[in-house]
Symmetry: D2
């Protein structure tokens, strides 16, 4: 599309650590590889510490820096607010931004509670009526192998789904001497492994199957309840001057549920699976075939077609790097694999595409609320003797 | 050991289909590769149909055939009864055999109910006081990679166990046109995937960890409730002359639980995982390391040692075919893998070794009862809204 | 087939160590699982040491023992001689046996020289005219996954073959302190890795492709030229009383060649590939598809069908344990993998089937000679500056 | 490093297709994630077509465009010339740039002939005496798993190297209807699979082992000698107006050689390995351990430590995404894998680091010449009956 024909999209980002770096890379990179229908500009980044946010703007490629996220809402040159802060701040920022007429991209989990998420959905609904759009950042949906998985389900290649098996396994807390950080603080993070990584596999399985969980029973555990306070650590609620502080979230979550189509589903999210670094594993078994994915080999999807002859049937290891696969045409030749951050670039591509079309981008805040309700139900089940909690 | 010094052990087997063939192979093969401390003899096989049992004796290598298993108990030349019949018959045969002073090897699951299993344990206890021994056939314990897994736990290489993840995935019922057989009949089989294959992963995880489940919550499902009646099919209770008949057991089971040491455990057993043929997958994560096993690659154990430097740490693919590995010295050079039936041969080796020592062989009937209680708790949980059931 | 209708086949085996144990297991096991068209009897085993051969007969299940293999040729109750001795003895025994009217199964490599192999082929030709048959024991052909590979080539699923990539990797000599044995003695073994394991991959690739090598260039190496003499070691030519002795064969062989259909082929055979235990790896790339096999996962064949859509094409991991796969119907349900020794049982099945039909069993001595010529050409190429050697 | 303290490095790039896009991404991205010791500027890109090069400058992020690469040499604001054109142009551009006092980064293969490469090395030597530096773009060296492989060799974890096994397998020419492009034209590309991808595995193995090939024997093949001319295709020498044109390079290369330390080495490079997309496979076996790498799973290195107990020894699957691994600290948390283009970013990091230090960057043009000599020797061997060619 000719540059002159493309509307400008000024972006303001809040937060600039892990997620902020990933989002910045995506905003920088998307227009270089994809023919975006809008002229994206990295207008401003916001953070509380002037020195740090200024350095971040320079390093990450933002044109200006603000020390209060509210300033982004006041600026006319900003059309979209990209929220990369901890979950406890999502609701306030997102609702204010939407009400100020800014599109919003909000990191997951949508919020730290169902109540907050519901308010965010209400704000998104209000905004949508005025042509202002909101999306939640379940980035892993944008991995090409996951897109292919979804496509195979849509095409009927899996058939009626009978089993969903999802695990998100990390090990960075396996060592009890790993110090506290904000992700272990319930006030900031809302929950632990459940909301941080369990949220991803709940969303991924609902996305790939096109079905929702209708009920769950679950169990949570905090294996290490006290951890060292890192000396440079600040802002942890209640850490005081102590040498150790409490872990106030779950270390691991285990639950099963029933999908709307009748499938049995099992989930596990943990930061204590020694040797598993970022193993997002999804398996789906249906009447016509099966799928298997592991993010530790992220460019590959395994697909079993049950209609093949028994003599030659087998899980196919599809290297999802062909021009025919979603997003790949913009990148490299076959076999030249993508990495973690490409999914963020794809997120920008899809978001800008939807905004240019005036369409609601997916996953919506309502999708984020669906996930939030599952997380909440798991927490309630765990607190109430693992009893079954129905989902609306 | 010189032949003359070895006591004779006359074996009588009941049943001669799938399990009977596997056990017969083991009785034939064990003395050829291992230096057994007793002279085993394949004295008689019992079955109801004279023609068939006679042919089976000839084909499988048994010296004589009986049409009533009770005859085995009367014969002086039989010291051990090997029970390879459906679960509904286990209790009667095993108790009678033990009371008649015969050692017993009983296929799993031990029984079709906890009550039966308790009576069998009582009989085994009575028998043990008279030097008569009983073992239940959780054969997969005898796979060398599983033995190594257990050894690594015992040696402290895994540390405090935090996660147990177990699946037994098959797909032979995935096609609704597969006809009925006795394994789908509750009266014969007791339960479906839960007792047939779920029992194995319950036992394997309790064996490898050395811990017991203390409670479970679960879910059962029968995906296909009516199936064709195969014309050659007979003996199915209630099948009458109909063209289809009801499936009266579960097709799949999903549950989670808590191990006695505090680990979170998840289980899945299904015959509907398209493309998975006999995938017994066990993963264990501990504070010092992790283990992973899949029976579809049965000669391999994956082991992660968390004490290794981060630079070179990684799951080791151990090909469990070294002379240092249990049972392997009797077989082939390194890398010459074993197959499914070797575990049955190892079972004979361990059983005969224990009998020669006058020791109680493991897994005992009490171990089988432990598994039975878990299966029963899962069934109750599934029937009662998936509520948590404590185990004694 | 009814027992009475089946002709008797009396077997006499020469040698009773590694290969003898594997062959004995096969003779014992084949009639138990397969419906053989002849009544095989394990009539006699021959070895030089009376005490040892008598014990071996007892342990391995042979009815009698002989201390001179020539006795087997004189006995009327022996119809087939099974040769499990080192390669230096093959020609003499096989030719004498064939000339005495006995069928012969001879372990690989067929002989230690092309000249010997040619004489053996001549003897086999003479014998065939009298209805006496000979087979060479390239057992790995009988692995079900290899049979499937061959079938896919025959069915045109691979198309015109362009690349053959074959490796046989072991590591049991990687440690220089491993002592000498007969396999390191040129007089006994003929060659080292080349003849012992390279022979297998030459035969396997010629079998699977249905093509012959037309020329080769190669390189041999002996990495460790002196090794300790094990105290219990005897019979090594020239070892005298020294503490170390010379390795007189190659430790590793590397060569490339051209198949008769034009494909480029690469080969490697070594006992120094640290960590590879028995990795027989075959890859074939054709215009229509590809195959990949590794004996370390022997129940699996990987197959790529180039006619599939680019979106879903991928190597299929076929678990070769379905009833539709060759030999499997006689064994266990799907997913219950076979082990190393099953291939020997299948060898007995195929051999007895051919004898009952009066057909020439494959692989023939002529097939063995083809392999021998390749090994010889590699040795000559290595000795003559790696020059290209044409094959007839 | 504070921005003001860093010297400016103006970069001019020649060519802007596949490699140009990858290099541009690297120049854009390196300063965002790494703390570079110089201020890199993307000053100009050169290409013959004004319209196309202007669009490329805009899309790829270059400040200006030139239609003659010689202009880059005249501009004072350009300190380094980055050559991303076909091999036939490398020598002229690189020599002129170095003689003009510009640092050079030149894509591989260094040149299309040994003579050209020698002239380039001479130019690099002249330049080095004036503080001007040259590097050749063997980018795969910068994959973190390859860096770890090299480190393990340096640390003695592999010991004396005995086997090198290298393959670069693609399949994009497997279909005879794939049209001609410049890579199939000897005048432009110099050679086919040999120089395009074989060059990479020659360099990688020489880099990882720290040894050079001392001799080779090889074989080349062109499986499909005529291919369709794509209508949009231009500039192919001799294609005229014909509908098909000749393939004038090799489709595949196979060779073996000897490393300077005595190891046996085998190589294969092909574009006809159906199903292999970009499979760069390197295996190394040494007296102390082994390594295995496959670019289709590029974030993983397999390492076997032969000093481990036989009971627990096995290839470790190291996920090379830990902060302790080279380059990783600048990217994401453990398990968040990198993709193909990250290696180009690392190349910029290493190049800029060397320039800031006034050090010669590696791989040098002399390293590129070493590779060129191997490619040349393989071609000669293939042309002369596969005879052994010694390397200097």
């Amino acid at each position: 599309m000719a540059a002159a024909d493309r509307a400008r999209l000024g972006v303001g980002m809040v937060g600039y650590s892990f997620m902020g770096a990933a989002h910045s890379h995506a905003w920088r990179t998307a227009p270089r590889f994809f023919d975006l229908p809008m002229r994206t500009e990295m207008t401003a980044v916001a953070g509380r510490n002037r020195e740090k946010v200024t350095a971040a703007a320079e390093r990450l490629g933002w044109e200006s820096a603000e020390t209060d996220w509210r300033r982004l809402l006041e600026r006319d040159d900003i059309d979209l607010v990209d929220i990369c802060t901890p979950g406890s701040t999502h609701a306030e920022i997102a609702i204010a931004a939407l009400d100020a007429g800014k599109h919003v991209l909000c990191e997951k989990p949508l919020a730290n509670s169902v109540a907050e998420a519901e308010q965010m959905v209400a704000a998104a609904d209000r905004a949508a009526r005025r042509g202002v759009h909101a999306m939640v950042g379940f980035t892993y949906r944008r991995v090409p192998a996951i897109q292919l998985a979804r496509q195979l389900v849509v095409d009927g290649r899996i058939g009626e789904i009978r089993h969903v098996r999802a695990q998100y396994l990390q090990d960075w807390l396996s060592d009890p001497s790993t110090p506290l950080n904000w992700r272990l603080d319930k006030d900031k993070a809302g929950s632990g492994a459940l909301g941080d990584i369990g949220a991803h596999v709940v969303d991924l399985t609902q996305f790939v199957t096109g079905e929702l969980l209708t009920g769950v029973a679950g169990m949570l555990e905090t294996f290490v309840s006290e951890r060292p306070v890192a000396t440079e650590f600040s802002g942890l609620s209640g850490s005081g001057g102590a040498e150790t502080g409490p872990v106030t979230v779950d270390d691991a979550a285990v639950f099963f549920g029933r999908m709307s189509g009748g499938a049995m589903a099992t989930y596990e999210a943990t930061r204590y699976a020694a040797g598993r670094k970022n193993a997002i594993r999804i398996e789906i078994n249906g009447s016509a075939g099966s799928l298997a994915f592991d993010f530790e080999d992220m460019n590959v999807l395994h697909f079993y077609d049950a209609s093949e002859s028994a003599t030659t049937a087998g899980f196919r290891r599809i290297v999802v790097t062909e021009p025919e696969h979603r997003y790949i045409g913009a990148w490299w030749p076959a076999g030249h694999g993508l990495g973690y951050e490409h999914a963020f670039t794809h997120q920008v591509v899809d978001l800008v595409g939807a905004l240019a079309d005036g369409a609601d981008p997916a996953p919506s805040f309502a999708d984020g609320l669906d996930v939030q309700r599952v997380l909440d139900a798991v927490e309630r089940s765990a607190a109430e003797q693992h009893r079954w909690i129905k989902l609306p």
